[in-house]
């Protein structure tokens, strides 16, 4: 069936709602399936009308059986993240009704790298969850797959196959791997073979920051307070000078972290100050414009700006930190790019609430570090 996925949302909903009200002749069902799938593809967040319509669509398509499993999987390509889950739910229902009957077409779908990565991984699981031999065979060719999940599985399969992998094999795994824990494990294995990898550089962590602070955050009241550092940054002014801090004039200091995960320890630099804010600035030189991602991990409340635009803001204290905790797409430009981070510490006294740290990296959408000058 030729999917008409480019149809506008209102037209699709209108046609579908009309079919609900008027009843749909059986002969026309096939013609409206693309519209129904389109409804699922474009479901909007926090929209009861869309949720109600999608619930009806899924029920109708699941029960009628007149929509093809492969068509549903194909419709995931380009769908919104919410839409993909509705389609995935429908696909699971359809697959359950005849799990073995479409294996050839499912294999063809899986091997088509142009299809949606999540749909392909779902098919991979259907085909291989109870067939370890097939799973191993399929993963052999997936080290560089465009699906992060398939790539993760392919790397894990080789990594877990032996404790004595050759250096060249480990290096090929490092080239393929994107998931942070897996990357760290591979670098650790290489280290045992005497091969040193600059882990921070591999991830693309920003390791050199100009820091200034502390500014007042007593009572955790200043997350949204625009100190002069922020207003000067927004105005494009030079940030070279000093500022009035929490209790005295403060000056910029340069901190280069040697931490393999790019962690900048503000508690150490600022003598365990509590109830405070520290700003950090990093600059990145690029030879050309680039769409990429900034990925931040931070145990404290934080805001991040890239070239003047606020891209990340989380007023959360001491509830976990890890690599790639917060992710935002950004557009970097040729020449100098300036990243500003505002990191807020509160006044909790518990032993586990004393950390004042952050990490930030620039990478492509798969997690591979970008190249800088």
């Amino acid at each position: 069936m030729d999917m008409k996925l480019s149809w506008g949302r209102s037209a699709m909903n209108g046609a579908f709602l009309a079919s609900l009200v008027l009843g749909t002749p059986t002969a026309l069902l096939a013609d409206t399936n693309a519209e129904k799938l389109g409804t699922l593809r474009t479901i909007r967040p926090n929209n009861d009308t869309d949720v109600k319509t999608a619930s009806s669509v899924v029920k109708q398509l699941s029960e009628s059986g007149d929509v093809g499993l492969i068509d549903v999987l194909k419709s995931m390509k380009g769908a919104s993240p919410l839409g993909k889950n509705w389609l995935l739910g429908l696909a699971n229902s359809l697959h359950r009704k005849s799990p073995e009957s479409k294996n050839d077409s499912l294999r063809t779908f899986l091997m088509d790298a142009s299809q949606d990565p999540e749909a392909r991984y779902t098919v991979f699981r259907w085909l291989t969850d109870n067939d370890a031999e097939l799973k191993a065979k399929m993963l052999d060719g997936m080290l560089q797959d465009s699906s992060p999940e398939l790539r993760f599985e392919a790397v894990a399969k080789v990594l877990n196959s032996s404790e004595n992998l050759e250096t060249g094999v480990l290096q090929s795994l490092l080239d393929a791997s994107r998931q942070p824990e897996q990357v760290v494990a591979i670098i650790g294995r290489l280290g045992k073979q005497g091969v040193t990898v600059n882990q921070s550089k591999h991830f693309g962590f920003l390791d050199t920051w100009n820091l200034i602070g502390p500014f007042d955050n007593v009572g955790s009241k200043s997350f949204d307070k625009e100190y002069a550092v922020e207003s000067d940054y927004a105005a494009g002014k030079s940030l070279a000078g000093g500022y009035d801090g929490k209790s005295a004039a403060v000056q910029w200091v340069t901190e280069t972290t040697a931490d393999p995960e790019g962690v900048v320890d503000l508690a150490k630099v600022f003598s365990n100050e509590k109830g405070c804010i520290v700003y950090g600035v990093a600059t990145v030189e690029l030879p050309a414009d680039l769409d990429c991602e900034i990925r931040v991990g931070c145990i404290n409340a934080q805001k991040v700006w890239v070239n003047g635009k606020l891209v990340i803001a989380n007023e959360v204290y001491h509830t976990g930190m890890q690599i790639d905790q917060y992710v935002a797409p950004v557009k970097l430009r040729a020449g100098t790019n300036q990243i500003l981070i505002k990191v807020c510490q509160n006044e909790q006294k518990e032993a586990w609430a004393q950390r004042y740290v952050f990490q930030a990296r620039l990478c492509d959408s798969t997690g591979k570090a970008i190249s800088t000058k």
Partner: protein, 408 residues
Amino acid sequence: MRRWVFSFFSIGLSVPLGVGLCAADDWQQFRGPGALGASVSSKLPEQFDGATLKNVVWKTPIPGRSVGGAIVVGDQVITTTGDGMDQRRIRLLSYDTKTGKQRWEQQLVARGRPYCHPTSANAAPTPASDGEHVVAFFSSNDLACVDLQGNLVWYRSLATDFPKAGNDVGMSSSPVIVDGVVIVQVECQGDSFAIGINIVDGTTAWLMDRPRKANWSSPTLVKMPSGKSGVILQSSEDLVAVSPSDGKAMWKMEMGCSTTPSAVADGNRLIVPSGGLTVLDLSSAGAPSQLWKENKLNPNACSPVVANDKVYVVNRTVLVCGDAFTGKVLWQLRIPDAKQIWSSPVIAGNRLYLFSMEGACFVVDISGEEGRIVETNQLGDEVLGSPAVVGNAMYVRGATSLWKIASE
């Protein structure tokens, strides 16, 4: 490797109460009928063993990791898991109660952050059922509803609807279902709310702002003096009774409650983890009056269990029994060799079953004037969720396997 700051978190420990909702032979929500964690007519084996499979009817390995409990609906035992990269694949799984064979599976992809403390899991909350639907909630704030054949009924990404909702230590509040409404409590430092969702189509019935503080406790269902259902929400700042149909507060008390174990309703008594235990009188309209308060009955992680007018709490590795009418401490029993206990205990007959995180099950005789450990069984699987007890069988969701324990 990943770095974490430890904080208290609940592993589906809180108590979704199914007052009057559960079929007699089902365990449809976390801690089962009445959320009392008790099946006084059941008789379970005192001895079982994960290695020799003594009194293990079946064991089914499950990919990924879960720290929530399983539920039992008819002849299905239903659980969740998070597996694949970063536990982003969220799955609902149904198994045949007799054979342990998989009946169906539904899988989606987490749209919120799936990160949590290594002890926990994305699949931390216990699912819930009304006998027709199954609702599963995940730490990533993904909420899915399926029918009893596993077909998707609706899906909500609360992390997409409320982008600042989340807690990277891990969320674990379990949903409850009452009067056709699913109630989910999402309390954190970002977007913090309770939401009622129509179970038929997934639309929002109501939304209530909640304190912006981390909270892992679950909603608790009660019967109000009028006979109508009520939902109890607790936090470090308040205790509020909400009408499940429209989300309106029926009463609210400014009081600091625990943010890990949840309240239990035993008849007209609401047993609240607050200053140890605080017991409130629900027999008259309006805000309830206090019946008693006892700080020695302090449930630090596990929710209280009530049976035969006695209340049991686990304070770290000490089991404490109190009189449910007066709060008087009747006895205390140290659980030897248990390092951590997150799984709320269950009672079958006159035996209390308490799992340590390491997978040791302590069987305690609670029939006498003192508690007495009669057996210690090793399952060989991490256990953080509370077991389900149906008939003379206990279903235990280990971190990586599902177990049916019953006499051979």
